[in-house]
Structures are given as C-alpha cells and as structure tokens.
C-alpha cells in the first residue's frame, strides 16, 4: 500500500491537523516509511485468532447510574481559552 499526496491530505483533514500543500510530499514519504515497517504484520498467520480487546481477563465493571457530582461550572470552564457567560465559546459554526 502506497500513500500518495492526496491520501496524505485526506488523512490530515480527518485528523483535523492543518498541513500546508508543500509539506504533503514529505508527509506521504513518512507515512510510507512507517507503513512499510507495519507491513511485516502480513507475514503472521492470524487465522482464527481473536483481536485483543482487553489485556487482562476482566469484564468492564458496571456502576449504579447515579449523579455523584456536578455544580462545578466555574471549574469546568476555568481552563477554557474562551469562556463567556458560563459557556465555552467557539467561532461561528453555521452561516
């Protein structure tokens, strides 16, 4: 599998990371290098092997569906780059 510049641009878009056009060839090369390394996995016979979901044999615990905290709006917003009137503020989302 070889990654071209348009695939690299698509991946950057999916990851929401701005990559300038002139940086795309180098990025595609890096991807190909890393994916070339990963290709070794194709040598392994994985027929009938389950993909690992949990490294320790334990089920996720359930807990009671109860409100245990809250009323900390100021703390929640304390680290926001832009908070106004008790909300997170972001640029305009719809026209």
């Amino acid at each position: 599998m070889s990654i071209d510049q348009s695939t690299a641009a698509k991946v950057a878009k999916l990851a929401r990371i701005k990559v300038e056009d002139d940086a795309l060839p180098a990025l595609a090369d890096e991807f190909n290098n890393i994916l070339g390394f990963i290709e070794q996995l194709n040598e392994v016979d994985v027929e009938g092997v389950e993909p690992m979901t949990s490294v320790t044999p334990q089920r996720l615990k359930r807990r009671a569906d109860e409100v245990t905290d809250g009323n900390q709006q100021d703390k929640v917003l304390a680290n926001a780059p832009d908070a106004r009137e008790g909300f997170f503020a972001v640029p305009k989302v719809v026209e």
Binding site: K18, I38, L60
Partner: protein, 495 residues
C-alpha cells in the same frame, strides 16, 4: 550522613523515623540540588512553596507517630500526571497554561501518605518518544557523560526528566509512565531502577492518556527496595478507572528476601537481535550467570512472535492516540491558535492542532487516523490486535511451562547523544523499544535494573519480566540481580 538529596527512599525513611533528619531538611536539600541543575532541564515546573508546606505537614505527622513509608520523602512527578493547580502540560504546547482542577489518583495517593512533590518533570510530548527530544520544554539532559566527552546524552524517554532527576539526586525518586518502554528504557540509560507494573495495577485516572490499553504508571528509583516501597503506594483499585484491578496490594518490600533458589528464569532466544552490540550480549549472559549463582535455574525459551511486537505497537498505540488526542480541540482547555477573520470552527481545530502538536505527535495522530479509517481498519488495526493476542500467548505458554521470570536486555544500546538520531528515520528511533514493548502489549510487569557500565562508562540495564500481578516476586528476583551486579556507579557532577 551523606548529602540528604543523595539518600534512597529507604535510607531517608529510616533516618526520619529515627529522628536523624526532618522532611524539611530533606526537601531543602533537594530544592537546592534542583536549583543548581537547570543544565539538566529535568524539573520544568518547580513547586518549592508547595513542597515546603507539605514537608512541614509531614514532619508533624512523623512526630505524631503516624508516618507511612513515603511520609516526608521528596519526589518528582512526571508532567503527564495532572496535579491540582500546578501546570500539567504533558510537555506539549497545546496544553500551555493548563492547570488542572483535580489531582491524578496516583499523585493523590502519593500526597495522601505524606510524600513531598518538588515539581513536574520533563518528558517527551504526550510520552511519544524515546529520547526526551520531542518536549516543548526542550531536551532533558542525562547527568551521565562518555568519560570526559562533553557531548550531551539523552536520559532516554519518554520519562527522561524523571530518569535524569533521580540519577542526578535532584529528588529521592520520581513517577514515570510506560506505554512501550518509557520507564524501563530511561532507567536503563541512567543507571536507575524502573518498574512498569501489570496493566491495571495503577489507576490511569488523571494521567494524560496516550494509548489507554498500554499506559501504566510506575516508580523510578535509586534501588529495587525503593521501587518496592513506592510502587506499593502508587498501586490499588480506583473506581474512577474501569480497567483498574480490584486486587489487594501486597507489602512488596517485605517480599524482598533475595532468595531466588529454585526459580526458573527464561532466556528468550528471539531477543538475540542481529547486530546487537557485544557489550549488551555479555551483560545479558553475565546477568544469567548471576541469577544462576544465586540458585535460579536458567532455561532457554522461545517467544516466537517477538519480531512482530514493534510493528503491532506502531499500529495500536497511534490508533489509540489519535482517538485520545481528539480532545485537544482548542475549546475546553489549553491553547487555541490565533484565527484569521472568517475562520470557522474547522479552521480553529486544524490551526490549533497544527500549532499545538509537535512533529512526532502529529505524525502518530495521523498514522493512527489512517489505520482506523474506513477500508484499512481490518487490514491494520484488527490485524495488529490479533498479533497482540499471539504475543500475549507466547508469554502465557512460557509461564505455563514453569518459567517464573524472563531475563532480557533492557535496551539495544547505551544512551545515545542528543541530536544523534535527528537524521534517522522514525523507525530507527522506534527500535529503542524493541525489548520493552512486548511487555506492554502483553500487559505484564517488567523492571529495568542497572547491571553494568559499557566501555565508555555509561550504564547498561537488564530487564526482568514477570507474571501478571506478581510484582512482588519479580521485584525479589530484581533484588537478587541488583545484589549480584553490585552497580554503584554515579555520574560525575558537571552541571
């Protein structure tokens, strides 16, 4: 008494209990050492006022006769741990200015027993790196040098600041985290002890997430005994981490008898890599001889899927990272890029993440995005998770055949120079983790123990891998190895 900052946790604890010193004195000695060690760039956020406050409280507690082992002992905390009111940036620009409103479970446990946080320690950005060169704070520097050569060496990564600080006696011990070797590799590079416990032993709550199925916290210390003392404090069930194990935490220190007679130690043939330096090879066989002389039985074993651990890791870890790091969007915390007129929310995300994430982090997030994307999920991500199942089974088979622990080198080389790997492709850097990454994929405990010096006078470490939840037994084997190796070298102070 030797200088107080040079004490081990155990020595300092015993001195405190006897009344030979105070936590305030210990803390002052460490703060002084830290202030004269800016050249190491290990401590990146210093918290002297908080430290003195905690030291005084600890002294009161010791006087009152209520003193757990770690009470009054000054330690450093890796920047990956959220610490209330103290910058916690994961060494990333994107978390500039972030001061958590809460405390990670592990650092809270350490605070609850009265230990004294001196400040936050340098690391690779989001723990992604093996040399501490991806940090927004700049490189952490190893206190070790190649003889009289002034070239700066890496303390390893990602817990590079922790390793440097402990090796240079800036603190008595430090926390680290380990996703693919980030405790054990820096410990090996700096002649210190580092243990990654079984996945689920330490709560991950409040630790900035990199790859959630692999991340574990652990102690970085000057001795195996110290590792036992500190690990016990860090472990334990936490309802806030659903993968945290509901198991009792034993008294690890009490399990250090040094008696390993009859233990079966496996030597995996697949860890004998092509091009492995002769010094590493010799260290490994010397280590096996030491354990044999202490009464253990040495057996050759096979872990056939070892070769595929690194490529599987470089699918799974970036995949999880791309998901975990989606939260850095410039909205809830950290840093938002300056926007141009007319920029909408997508531009805000894209610019914020392009400016805020360093090169290696961007690369891993994008690789992770790719392997999880439609059409490639099965070919990459699911295949890697299947290989992970096989890697874990390799270890299970070895343990089922009666092996108690596995001995391997900790790293394929001694520490390299800062900047020496800049031109190398990323895969070359990833090879640093070749002996450690299997342990994360299998969820097992692994410990790095300093075992010798190379011809240039740099520390080399051996790794012992144990059965799940058997950290006590593993530490006891490590203790026997430490006793036999008799590693006492310290870096010459140049900083």
């Amino acid at each position: 008494m030797t200088e107080l900052n040079k004490l081990t946790l155990a020595e300092a604890r015993d001195a405190l209990r006897k009344g030979d010193t105070t936590s305030v004195e210990l803390t002052e000695a460490c703060l002084k050492a830290i202030d004269s060690a800016d050249a190491l760039n290990a401590f990146v956020h210093k918290t002297p006022e908080l430290a003195m406050e905690r030291a005084k409280a600890a002294d009161d507690r010791i006087k009152a006769g209520d003193a757990p082992s770690m009470c009054g002992l000054p330690i450093g905390i890796k920047d990956l741990f959220c610490t209330k009111g103290v910058p916690s940036q994961a060494a990333s620009k994107i978390l500039e200015g972030f001061k958590p409103e809460y405390e990670s479970t592990v650092s809270q446990k350490l605070a609850d027993v009265g230990s004294v946080m001196l400040g936050k320690l340098n690391m690779d950005e989001f723990a992604m790196g093996s040399s501490n060169e991806t940090s927004v704070y700049g490189n952490a520097v190893s206190p070790w040098r190649r003889g009289n050569d002034e070239a700066q060496l890496t303390p390893g990564g990602s817990s590079g600041g922790s390793a440097s600080a402990v090796a240079a006696d800036l603190c008595l011990a430090a926390t680290g985290t380990d996703t693919g070797g980030s405790i054990r590799q820096p410990a090996a590079f700096t002649g210190t002890v580092g243990i990654k416990p079984t996945y689920g032993r330490c709560s991950r709550w409040g630790i900035v997430a990199f790859a959630s199925s692999l991340d574990q916290a652990g102690p970085m210390t000057k001795s195996v005994r110290d590792a036992a003392i500190m690990l016990e404090t860090m472990c334990g069930h936490d309802p806030k981490d659903s993968t945290s194990a509901e198991l009792a935490v034993p008294d690890f220190e009490a399990m250090l008898t040094g008696d390993i007679r009859g233990k079966k130690i496996g030597i995996p043939k697949e860890y004998r890599m092509d091009g492995m330096p002769g010094e590493i090879e010799k260290l490994w066989s010397d280590g096996a001889e030491m354990l044999k002389a202490a009464g253990a039985e040495i057996v050759d074993i096979s872990l056939p899927h070892t070769k595929y651990a690194l490529p599987a890791y470089y699918v799974i870890a970036p995949a999880e990272a791309s998901s975990n790091l989606a939260r850095y969007d410039g909205v809830r915390y950290g840093r938002r890029a300056t926007l141009d007129a007319g920029d909408g929310i997508t531009e805000m995300y894209e610019k914020t993440r392009a400016e805020g994430f360093g090169h290696e982090v961007q690369r891993r997030v994008m690789v992770g995005t790719y392997v999880l994307s439609a059409g490639f999920y099965d070919a990459y991500y699911n295949r890697a998770r299947r290989v992970r199942t096989l890697i874990k089974k390799d270890f299970e088979d070895a343990f089922a055949a009666g092996v108690d622990a596995i001995l391997t080198p900790a790293t394929p080389s001694a520490a390299f120079g800062l900047g020496e790997m800049t031109e190398a492709d990323p895969v070359q850097m990833y090879l640093n983790d070749v002996f450690t990454v299997t342990v994360n994929l299998a969820g097992l405990p692994g410990v790095a123990v300093p075992a010798g010096l190379d011809s240039q006078g740099l520390p080399l470490g051996l790794q012992l891998i144990g059965k799940p939840w058997e950290e006590g037994d593993l530490l006891n084997t490590a203790y026997a190895l430490e006793n036999a190796a008799g590693f006492v070298a310290k870096p010459q102070q140049w900083w």
